[in-house]
Structure formats: C-alpha cells, structure tokens
C-alpha cells in the first residue's frame, strides 16, 4: 500500500486548499466591503493597516474574543453543530473542482492541481451543495426563535426550488460533454467555452447559483428588515463568523463552478504551451464572476418571497427544461 500517494499527498493538498479558501474568505469580505463602498461612492474600510488591508484580521480577532452566548432553551447539540454544517459542505465541494490540468512531479509522485477527479463529479457537486441547506435549517430550528425559524423555512424552500433549474441547466452540459467528470467537462471546452454554446444555460445556472449562495437579490433567509437576521439571529461571535464564512466560501465555490462549467475552466491563450498559466486564468475568471456577484449586490434590491418562488418555478425551471430539450435534440441530430 502506497500510503504517500493515498494519504499524505491528498492530505497536504486538502490542507493547502482549506488555508487558501479561508484566507480567500477573509479577503473576500474585505474586497466586498471595499467594492460595495466604491459602488456607493464611499471609501470602505481604510483604517486598519495600509488601505485597510488588516481589516479581516481585526474582524477575526473581534469575533474570536466575543463572549460565547448560548441562549436559554436552545437545542444545544444542533445549535452548535449547525455553523459547522454550513462551512464543511462549502469546503468539501472543492475536492473535485479542477483548478488546472497542469501537474508536476515530486520524488516520482505526480501532483495535480485538484484533489481528486471522480467520474460522478457533477453529481457530487450537486449533492454536497444540497447538504449546505441542512446547516441553515438546523440553525433555524435549534435557535428556538421565530425569526430564525422563518429564515430557515425560507432558506429551505428557496434552496430546494433553485436546485432544480440549476441541476437541469447543468444536465445540458452533460449532454454536450458526455461526461460527469469536471476535468472532462473543462477539457470539452478547449475550443469553445460552454457559455457561448449554452448562454441560456449559463444565465439559469448563474441566477440559481445566486439563490443557492443566498446572495442578493435572493438573500431572503436573512432579510434584516423583516427577520432581524434570519437563521443567524441567535448566533454571535465565532459561531456567527462560521455562517459568514460558509456564505462567502459558497460564493467562491459558486464562482469556481461557473468558471468550470461555463467559462472554460483553466483554458486560455498559451495554456497548451505553458500549462501553469491555467491556474492564473482560473483565478482570474473566478475573480471576474465574484466581481459580478458583488456588483449585483450593489445594484439590485431584494425580491419578495412569492416573486422569488414564482420566478423559479414558472420561469427559470421551464426555461432550463426548454434549453435542455433543444440541446438534447441538437446533439442527437447533429452531435
């Protein structure tokens, strides 16, 4: 049994991935505050360190030193478990996201730019993304608070509804690429990115992804004007920070998936000659998608809940299905 290839290398990769994602989360919160501020013609955080660059550190310290408050009559086990249940799926999805097809060799072991390439990658992504809902539902239920519960109920219906058009939009890609493996899906985009083949699919996926990641204009679970803070009402300190972390890592994940599925993953000019460029392209594309998500947050108001559900079931899902039928027909006839 070659324990280095089976345990050590994936372990180190996972560790690196977690560290990168967590610091990515910290600086994403900074970038978002800064960008939203500039969209509103303000400066944003600029006091902690040069250009406010130490702001995430200050936030983290503040959160860590907050008093640990557990309200009376909460369901302690699930109350404490829920924040972790939000963060873990957000991190676990990254196991299958291919950052680049480049690989290098250290002491005879080939090291790739992804943790694993499983042949049901797409299913895995959808399944794990669905798991994130549990953390929020349990948080709302265990908090013993009407606002939390209402927020959690909204999240459940929202996330379950939007998973459908998202899944259907991704099935169209499956029809084209003929594989569930994310590496194969990206490889199929070497000549033509799927956003050009599947513009409607991309639109549906992007809207559904915004709803999945609880981003504006679909941040109904925490509508602060009617639900205080939704499912996170009773959480404070580090437990709240975990929800925050989950939400932001989800945002990175959703952007990375959009890049993988529609924007050609690591492909770009000169990648065949210099494979390591793929990492740069991937990062750039993810950054662009994240920018658009923040831009949307700065521009659009939140939709009403009935509009949200109606839009999903009466418009997005039929659109995705139509897109799938047309794609399947075209592929069957000329593919």
């Amino acid at each position: 049994m070659d324990w280095i290839a089976w345990l050590l290398i994936p372990g180190i990769k996972a560790l690196v991935l977690i560290v990168v994602l967590l610091s990515g989360f910290a600086y994403l919160s900074y970038v978002e505050r800064k960008l939203v501020a500039r969209f509103q013609v303000r400066y944003g955080p600029n006091r902690a360190g040069p250009l406010g660059l130490l702001q995430p550190l200050a936030d983290a310290l503040k959160m860590l030193f907050k008093e640990e408050v557990i309200p009376a009559r909460v369901d302690r086990l699930f109350y404490l478990l829920a924040p972790a249940l939000v963060v873990i799926p957000a991190l676990v999805i990254w196991a299958v996201i291919p950052i680049s097809n480049a690989s290098f060799t250290i002491a005879g072991y080939e090291i790739t730019w992804y943790l694993t390439d499983i042949n049901v990658g797409l299913l895995y992504v959808l399944a794990i993304a669905g798991l994130g809902t549990y953390g929020i539902v349990l948080a709302g239920w265990s908090s013993n608070n009407k606002y939390s519960l209402l927020g959690a109920l909204r999240t459940t219906s929202q996330m379950l509804s939007y998973e459908l058009p998202m899944g259907v939009a991704l099935i169209s890609l499956l029809v084209i690429s003929g594989s569930l493996s994310l590496v194969d899906i990206v490889n199929a985009q070497q000549r033509l990115w799927f956003i050009l083949v599947q513009p409607i699919g991309f639109l549906v996926y992007f809207i559904a992804a915004l709803a999945e990641a609880n981003r504006t204009p679909f941040d109904l679970p925490e509508t602060e004007n009617e639900l205080v803070s939704g499912f996170a009402t009773e959480y404070g300190g580090m437990k709240f920070a975990l929800f925050f972390m989950g939400e932001y890592i989800n945002m990175i994940t959703v952007s990375a998936l959009a890049t993988t599925f529609f924007l050609g993953g690591w492909w770009g000019p000169f990648v065949e000659q210099v494979p390591i460029l793929g990492v740069v392209y991937f990062t750039l594309k993810v950054a662009v998608v994240i920018f658009v998500i923040i831009w949307i947050r700065a521009s659009l108001p939140r939709v009403r809940f009935d509009q949200l559900i109606r839009f999903c079931w009466k418009f997005l899902l039929p659109l995705a299905l139509l897109n799938l039928i047309v794609t399947a027909t075209v592929v069957a006839l000329w593919g």
Partner: protein, 170 residues
C-alpha cells in the same frame, strides 16, 4: 410572466450600468479626523466670548443671554469693574460665565439677546468629554479664541436658494 421579464431585464441592466458608473467616481466621504470638515459660516457650534479690539471683554454681565436661553444652561454672575481691575468698558463684567453644553441646544438665542454681541456661536462641533463636569465650559475657556484645526469655514458668498427653497419660502 414573459411580458414582465423583458422590461425587468432592461431595468436590471440600467441599474447595473448606473452602479458601474459610480464605481469609478471619487468617493465623497470626508475623512474627518484626518481632513477638516468645511462648515458654513452660519453653522452654530460651541460658544465663544468675544473681546473688543483693545482687549477688553464685550460681556457686561447683564444676564440677558441666560434669560433668553430656553434650556437654562447659562449661568452669569456679574462682577463690578474697578480702575485697578478693569475687564470691560462698562460698570460690570461677567465674573462667572458658565455654559452647560450638555443642556445647550445650540439655538443661538443667547447670541441674539446679547446687547454687546459678546457671545457668539462659532463652529466647533467636537465637544466630547470624558467627565460630565467637563461639559460645563467656564469663562476662561470661553474667552480663549477657539479655532480648532479640524474645522474650516467654507465660503458661502455664492450661495443662492434653490428654486424649490425659494418657492416654499414665498
């Protein structure tokens, strides 16, 4: 549904365009402790007791300011001027002059009531103190010329009422 989707999409595009333009604007934030705040000349901030050009105090201790004060935050106790100790041109001067800034509402009635234009509301707004008793400013503090660095007085000579303000004022 479809009839709503297309106008909505156009509106979304317009909203996104507007925010994108604003992304490249210079922020309008005033970085207050680092940059001074520009206030209008009519801005009413902390009081100052004025002097004549020859250095004598304008205040004659008449207590009209205290009488005019709607919140009763001014205390004036007059003292007699003598030839050895002359503070103001007249018979009397304000020997004790205290303003409780926690009660003051900065209405400016004291300045209007003052017959010698001794008390004036100037522009300082940074009036925080660590001790409640420090909020009562005394004669000695009021007589000091008070031009803190965090405040600049802006020019309002080109100010004209807007059309709307003009209409309502008529």
């Amino acid at each position: 549904m479809l009839r709503q989707i297309f106008p909505a999409a156009i509106e979304i595009a317009r909203a996104m365009w507007i925010t994108l333009i604003h992304l490249f604007r210079r922020p309008v934030t005033n970085q207050y402790p680092d940059e001074p705040v520009a206030v209008y000349p009519r801005f009413r901030g902390r009081h100052v007791l004025k002097r004549y050009d020859n250095g004598l105090e304008r205040c004659i201790g008449c207590s009209l300011c205290a009488a005019a004060c709607p919140t009763d935050c001014i205390l004036v106790i007059a003292g007699e001027n003598t030839d050895e100790a002359r503070y103001s041109p007249g018979e009397r001067y304000g020997e004790v002059y205290e303003i409780n800034l926690l009660r003051c509402i900065f209405c400016g009635y004291c300045a209007e009531a003052c017959p010698t234009e001794a008390i004036v509301l100037e522009h300082d707004f940074a009036l925080g103190v660590y001790d409640r008793w420090d909020a009562i400013i005394t004669r000695a503090e009021l007589l000091e010329p008070h031009t803190p660095p965090h405040i600049v007085v802006r020019d309002d000579s080109d100010w004209r009422p807007t059309a709307a303000a003009w209409q309502t004022s008529r």
